[in-house]
């Protein structure tokens, strides 16, 4: 499903050159739930961003759903992200000015989906994460766990093949973290969604199919 070949990422400033990722080769199978672990600053999030086409590698190639993405222009990238990928962020990144339902509808705004259909799909996605009673709330009226569930609903509303989650339980207590993890496991099991998750939590990582460890930008396991 995702194929990374010899991925390298270098950050350059006027004086310093930092090697964030060095020669990463990784295959993620369709329907797999993969977790990435490693100490802070080892390149986990950078790797996830590159997989999500949010960042470009300095070297190497990426193929997702059998498409090589290196030569995509801005529009093609946007369309690809919209249709194939869903993102979950540690700090939720919900739009505070919009109600829950409008936040969840967001990915559908960039498709040819009419307003009625958008509302139906967003309501369904919120039902899946157990938040169908919070449609008209604003993010700041919700708890951390509820916000992350809204973020999951937003990630799955467009029915993407891949979900990329960057420390989805990082800001939550263990009970809420477990709730979120259960939802992700269900999505993977029931819908066959491929999930790549960056985490610091060994317990969470153990629940996934496979664990990849990074250290100083290189894959160690």
């Amino acid at each position: 499903m995702i194929k990374l070949q010899n991925i390298q990422k270098v950050y350059r400033t006027d004086t310093i050159e930092t090697l964030a990722l060095n020669g990463i080769n990784l295959d993620v199978a369709k329907g797999e739930f993969l977790s990435i672990m490693g100490p802070s600053g080892c390149g986990k999030s950078t790797l996830l961003n590159i997989m999500g086409l949010l960042d470009e590698p300095s070297k190497g190639s990426i193929s997702i759903a059998e498409q090589t993405t290196g030569r995509f222009n801005d529009k093609q990238l946007a369309k690809f992200r919209n249709q194939k990928l869903g993102f979950i962020f540690q700090s939720y990144h919900l739009i505070g000015d919009l109600q829950v339902i409008d936040n969840v509808e967001l990915p559908l705004l960039y498709r040819d989906t009419n307003a009625k259909e958008r509302r139906r799909l967003a309501t369904e996605a919120l039902e899946k994460v157990g938040l169908s009673n919070r449609l008209k709330h604003f993010p700041k009226q919700l708890s951390g766990g509820q916000r992350q569930r809204v973020a999951i609903a937003r990630a799955i509303v467009g029915n993407p093949e891949i979900i990329l989650a960057d420390e989805p339980t990082g800001n939550l207590d263990s009970a809420m973290g477990n709730e979120i993890m259960d939802i992700l496991l269900q999505l993977n099991r029931n819908d066959g969604t491929t999930i790549v998750m960056v985490t610091h939590d060994e317990n969470m990582a153990q629940k996934t199919h496979r664990l990849v460890r990074l250290f100083d930008g290189s894959q160690v396991q």
């Binding site: 960042d55 946007a78 992200r81 990144h93 000015d97 919009l98 960039y110 498709r111």
Partner: protein
């Protein structure tokens, strides 16, 4: 999609109320000034009282004589002789209205001074122009030939001089120690109708100056040529310019004479910006464009800066939108739409402010009989200005926003 943009735009406006106030104030103030300007130009250019036959009239306002050897130049209205002798000799016009520029005079009512603008006209003047007579009628050809001291007065003059008298036709009004019999009262003409404005209209033959004896080309008069139909205007214009080219200038100092029979708007522009054969229309368009551009530039820059600040606050939203499938182009579109919503809101406030200011100007009497109003033309120009304003101040910040790197935007 638009509904979503609208919700966001309103939410962003509510978020930083001071920024919103500054933005809306800048937009609405600029638009108020532009709307007042448009309303004024519209009133001057399009008001058709009392020249309701403007579509088949040509106006002769100013002439210019130059001497190529000595650099001499003389500019100003025509003499009565010029218009009566030359303009009236043309075949195409069915009527030629001749009238003087207004002269200031005074009348006294109970020792109180009433300022009177006097205007001397020929008989055709009343046929070419359609003054609304509230009572009485204009003076006729015979009365002019007999130099009868008769006058048509404006409604304001009637009220100032005669007070509440229901009818004043046949009564006498004394100006500069001469008594004139009132033959009619007309509805007021705004002072912006330069060639038609007056408080008191008199036969040219009762003037202290003997216009018929003066054979010079310069003077104090303007003319209006009335064609049978609008189709005759080009022919009439050509006939006039051919006639002018044949005129021998009596004054040896000058060797070139420029006098034109123009449509109404061109004739006004020629007074202000005309130079020799040039009408000044292109100068006016360039000048007005530069003024509007500069006038809009400052609030636009202000809005651009505020918009950039606001964008930086929204970088997380931009990152999220990009991550979920918004292309840079879609984001530019979204931000411009949001900005147009803001400017339209400012425009709406501007319209309300303009109506208030227009009412104040109209009721203050600063400009005689000027009745500024909002009409479709003014509203259309304002809407256009809003859109241009919204686009100008939105494009650059939108472009900056769309270029944000997703990862950095999400980190901010």
């Amino acid at each position: 999609m638009l509904k979503n943009y609208f919700k966001i735009a309103i939410a962003v406006l509510k978020r930083r109320k001071f920024f919103t106030f500054i933005s809306l104030f800048g937009i609405s103030f600029t638009l108020t000034v532009l709307m007042l300007l448009t309303a004024f130009i519209d009133r001057v250019g399009n008001s058709n009282y009392p020249d309701k036959k403007r579509d088949r009239s040509l106006y002769i306002l100013n002439m210019e004589m130059t001497g190529s050897k000595n650099g001499a130049m003389s500019k100003g209205p025509h003499s009565f002789y010029f218009l009566d002798h030359y303009a009236k000799s043309l075949k195409t016009p069915v009527k030629v209205a001749i009238s003087s520029m207004f002269d200031f005079s005074s009348a006294y009512v109970n020792n109180k001074k009433v300022a009177i603008s006097m205007k001397f006209t020929n008989a055709d003047y009343w046929d070419v122009l359609d003054y609304d007579f509230l009572e009485g009628k204009p003076f006729g050809k015979q009365q002019i030939e007999n130099a009868e001291r008769v006058a048509v007065i404006s409604e304001d003059t009637k009220n100032a001089y005669f007070g509440d008298a229901p009818s004043v036709v046949g009564k006498y009004i004394e100006v500069d120690n001469i008594k004139y019999r009132v033959s009619g009262v007309v509805k007021n003409v705004p002072i912006t109708q330069l060639t038609m404005y007056g408080d008191m209209y008199l036969p040219y033959t009762v003037s202290k100056n003997n216009y018929t004896k003066d054979k010079g080309l310069n003077g104090n008069f303007s003319g209006i040529l009335l064609a049978k139909s609008a189709d005759d205007l080009p022919k009439m214009q050509k006939e006039y310019s051919d006639m002018v080219s044949r005129i021998k200038i009596p004054d040896k100092e000058f060797d070139h004479l420029y006098s034109f029979a123009d449509t109404y708007f061109t004739s006004l522009i020629r007074i202000i910006l005309g130079n020799g054969p040039e009408s000044g229309i292109s100068k006016m368009i360039i000048g007005l464009s530069i003024f509007v551009f500069l006038f809009m530039l400052l609030p636009t820059i202000n809005l651009v800066n505020i918009n950039i600040t606001r964008i930086m606050e929204r970088s997380s939203e931009i990152g999220v939108r990009k991550a979920f499938g918004a292309s840079s182009q879609t984001l530019v579109y979204q931000f411009i739409v949001e900005n147009i919503i803001l400017t339209l809101l400012g425009g709406l406030i501007g319209v309300v402010l303009s109506v208030v200011v227009m009412q104040i100007i109209n009721s203050s009497g600063l400009i005689a009989n000027l009745n500024l109003s909002l009409n479709y033309m003014v509203l259309f120009c304002s809407l256009l200005a809003c859109l241009v304003f919204g686009l100008l101040s939105g494009v650059y910040p939108a472009w900056r926003m769309s270029r944000l790197n997703v990862v950095n935007a999400l980190k901010a």
